[in-house]
């Protein structure tokens, strides 16, 4: 399992959403609206190994979606538009369009959005929400 490649593929998966800036990992500064795959939680050995270095590995990638707070109240509406489960603006739909993430995982699911709040990045406040993307890889 290549964590960096998975994170990069999560960034690339959303690059087709009009107006959304994407990064392969956590940047020092962002240009909103932005999609940033970030921290990971990994559970190893979800199956027996079968001669491999590890069995099936399960990983949850925390992705954050940011929208400008300077655009009040438009910024919050911009953020809300990306949270829809389907459609051209949907982050969930964009990621789940290819369940292998360009061959980096065996399958995945965008599980939920939470922690909808105001975040400060590099001294600037943004509306933001956090995604849990669960992937399974060898």
């Amino acid at each position: 399992m290549d964590v960096a490649a998975i994170r990069a593929a999560l960034g690339a998966a959303c690059s087709g959403i009009t107006g959304l800036q994407t990064w392969p990992d956590i940047p020092g500064q962002i240009v909103a609206p932005a999609w940033v795959p970030g921290e990971v939680t990994i559970d190893y050995d979800r199956t027996f190994r079968g001669g491999q270095a590890a069995g099936l590995t399960e990983m949850v990638v925390k992705g954050r979606l940011y929208a400008s707070r300077a655009d009040t109240p438009g910024g919050q509406s911009t953020l809300d538009g990306f949270l829809t489960p389907s459609g051209a603006k949907s982050v969930k739909a964009a990621i789940e369009a290819d369940l292998t993430l360009a061959g980096t995982v065996r399958t995945l699911r965008v599980e939920r959005v939470h922690s909808y709040a105001v975040y400060t990045v590099a001294g600037t406040d943004y509306y933001g929400a956090q995604y849990d993307v669960r992937v399974w890889a060898l």
Partner: protein, 248 residues
Amino acid sequence: MTLTPQVLTDARIYLESADMTGFSNKVEVTSSAVDLDKTTFASGGWNERTAGLFDSQVAIDGFWDVGDLTKPDDTLWANLGAAGTAITVVPTAGTVGSLCYLGKTLETDYKPGAQVGQLLAWSATLKGNTAIARGQILHPQGTARTTTGNGTAVQLGAVLATQRLYANLHVLSVSGTTPSITVAIQSNVDNTFGSPTTRLTFNADTALDGQALSVLGPVTDTWWRATWTISGTTPSFLFAVSAGIAPK
């Protein structure tokens, strides 16, 4: 005595022609005996028991996948209700000489399912159709064989007149043009195999397959090995062989 604990991360599970290892995350081998009450007035105020019929069961959990008889859904669906399902469970990496549990079983249930949003999983139960034997691996699953040959000698021990040698063959991968493999189990008085005796021969396999055979004791030889005869054009086989001794 100090404990050497074993974290179960690399258990090998061979079910017919499927190596379930990379698809499974739980395996449990149960061997049991019915306890029969033989308490009498002369038992001194305590229950007395004796063992009745022995029984065995293998329960496996895993993640669903489909495609051919190397995958769990194809294999477990095809063998549901089949009384001769060969299974070998190895708690370690499955090299020659690794301790294993093997048997011929009846697959009694197969349950694929999951809640929405979860990985599709399954569980299966295989109940013993003969003795379950505690034996060793005679041929490892990861070594491809392309020509006729003999395996490494393993000291399983002698087989008493009240016992059988049980052996399983799991043909896990087959390639080539008209490939064929015939696997046999031989014994010898020592590990030189200077004058081996063939004790049982599996049916020739030309495709993915699993077989379970046994031979009645007594056999005074204590050393055992697998041997194989391969034919075809550019044939190649991956297969695992397990063997063990248990009451008949």
